[in-house]
Symmetry: C2
Subunit: 411 residues, 2 copies
């Protein structure tokens, strides 16, 4: 049932060097690798990128199952960037790529002899993407780039909670490394924008993309900044509902699950009331239009919850589907894996992994007409799995030289 | 103190037609417009895109202050897409652009006579980006695309809450249209990837980018899918803390604010304890290493909160800064507007808006060496402000013809 097509991946031919670790830069390059780019990931010799051990690891050793996804479609080479001979190899690689993506602490690559001047010297044409917590300049650039902190400074954390006074608990995390991922997406976008400029033959000097996690998160805050500047309004979190429209909330089912209903237009609300067998609510002045419903949202949510509590989640879904009211259970990963639409769209790929047997992989986003199954070319590689392919075949080193460098601890 | 540079915006020369409304497609094109693309936004004659009235509106009429940001750097033209003469004008525009971005319900443009076949006929070279809730194919493609629902089906909502049993309340919204924005970023990325392919001269047939909000959100779920597939694990929300490392949480200050501390390594934890004047905790077996601290996280968080409750938020910040422990207050938009780093990086731009006077605009993300102040070329335009510029200067219509079409209700 997967979507099939014979189209190639759009970014084939684009070669990228990743000097990254953890999430932001590796996510950036994985998105590009998924779309066909050739990504060469540099890892420290030995156990490689520490992110390989993040998340659950079979038998408590080796790489995590997440690595199968997080590292997919990339080539792994080992280089010791703390070793001058390693840096020489890295510079040779720089000379062979279209772009470099890195997320070390600002200034770290300079200390190792692989800062912007050295990258430019090795390859004046390379686009350089630098991802960091706070950006490559400014009074706070050297602060530690914890996603936890960056998401809070970007303004997301404050908005992810219940309204002031509604609870004693602090706002929550989104539960995923959302700041790193969004920064990674901006890095990929900036990289392609700079490549566009080069391909268009524009005369511009070397282009660096300077992505800050804080700014990436901040960029998603809709009208918060202009509303603060103009009205002095400080946007507050809204919990599970919306401050400006009703009903739109999460309601409890008989079997203890949460069911989302978005019936916040007059016609949707009418269909909801009829489906609940409560047509009389339509002539209730408290719920006559959206402003009235917002003013009486607590009472309205109470009426809806009184109904949802009498039904199993599957019954609620069937009722809202029949009434054509936007609604859904809140999906866990198990619900995702069972979803007909994700299946149809090729978003659930059973991939053979040489280490693990079979691993369930998310499909490639965005869909661009290629075959989803073929778009995952291979799963996360072993540390240094592509050393020979890259050092010998691409850089033209002799195998003896590679052996010497390995013995010397440089690769 | 803004970052200055004389570099041009990278995407100048790229022309994009937006057939969009609300958030996802308009955010996609705004990101591209911010990087220099020429974006022509099509709006219905009269009051234009309904999103113009979202958020706070001065004096309760006209466009919101958010529109000043959401519509910036774009040209606005009016076309009635429900009118066959309007569709003809839209097809002429299609012939003059590099890409089309739309987020109508799947099938809607086809009904109006502007589906993929007509777009391809008008311009065989145009890249087409389609953003929708569930994608352009599959059994659920026609479901209403509410962000509320898409974020839940993509798996984000479940993870944005307290652990099972910790509360009677449902998981919360992030408080912003995060699913729309992430889908918009993927749309921009796919658009540039398809442009890369064209510029590289690759022989591929026409490229469509099919972005689903659900899949965009799902793509950020780290190892959730492979961990479910391999171990049967269903990732659960973690509230304000992290399940695998401690201490990392939000703690209350004396002045009633939340203070984040991420001291989840042995060395950070040692510095935290000394800063709290509680060096004896370092020899407490319950907190000896990360596994011990995770097992005793509640007790540890209690010790830390007992200290944070005695200090003002500013004192806590100074103490953690001195101890070099990652920490921060949870920023509101007021904190963002006062932040030295955001100021230094040009992320807070006072823009003259012809309607509103001055509006505070977020800077352009990602930074790419251009002057942040110049990167915002103009604020959100009036409905149809660029009709003459586009219909006469670009399409070569006579002013009389534009007048006739306007009278006929086509533009």
């Amino acid at each position: 049932m997967n979507e099939k097509s014979s189209k190639a991946s759009p970014l084939s031919g684009l070669r990228i060097l990743e000097l990254g670790h953890f999430i932001a830069a590796p996510f950036c390059t994985r998105v590009l690798a998924d779309l066909g780019a050739e990504v060469i990931k540099v890892e420290p010799p030995g156990r490689g990128d520490p992110v390989r051990r993040w998340g659950k690891v079979p038998d408590g050793q080796g790489d995590s199952v997440w690595w199968s996804v997080h590292g997919r479609n990339k080539k792994s080479v080992t280089i010791n960037l703390k070793d001058p001979e390693g840096i020489k190899v890295a510079r040779q690689l720089v000379a062979h790529v279209d772009a470099v993506v890195e997320n070390f602490k600002p200034g770290q690559l300079d200390k190792w002899g692989l800062g912007l001047p050295e990258i430019e010297k090795a390859n004046p044409e390379a686009v350089v993407v630098q991802i960091s917590g706070f950006g490559q300049s400014g009074p706070q650039r050297d602060r530690a780039a914890f996603g936890l902190i960056g998401e809070a400074i970007g303004g997301l954390r404050h908005l992810t909670g219940y309204p002031p006074g509604a609870t004693d608990s602090p706002p929550v995390r989104t539960g995923i490394s959302i700041g790193d991922s969004i920064a990674g997406l901006y890095g990929a976008l900036g990289l392609l924008a700079a490549i566009y400029e080069k391909q268009a033959g524009k005369k511009s000097s070397k282009r660096h993309v300077d992505v800050a996690l804080t700014e990436s998160v901040f960029s998603l805050l809709e009208g918060c900044l202009p509303e603060y500047g103009f009205f002095g309004d400080i946007r507050q979190p809204q919990g599970s509902s919306l401050a400006t429209t009703a009903p739109s909330n999460a309601y409890p089912s008989k079997d203890g699950k949460w069911f989302l209903i978005g019936a916040n237009s007059d016609s949707l609300f009418a269909r909801l009331c009829k489906a609940m067998g409560r047509a009389e609510l339509l002539s209730d002045a408290r719920f006559a239009d959206n402003p009235a419903r917002v003013s009486n949202a607590a009472a309205l949510d109470g009426e809806i919850a009184a109904w949802t509590r009498t039904k199993l989640i599957a019954e609620l879904e069937a009722a809202m589907d029949e009434a054509d009211v936007p609604a859904s259970r809140i999906y866990t990963i198990a619900d995702i894996a069972a979803d007909s639409q994700f299946h149809h769209r090729g978003m659930l790929q059973r991939m053979p992994d040489p280490r693990l047997g079979e691993v369930l992989h998310p499909g490639v986003v965005p869909a661009m007409g290629f075959d989803q199954a073929k778009a995952i070319r291979w799963t996360g590689p072993e540390v240094g799995e592509h050393n020979k392919k890259v050092f010998v075949d691409l850089l033209g080193m002799s195998e003896a030289e590679v052996g010497r460098l390995a013995k010397a601890g440089a690769v």
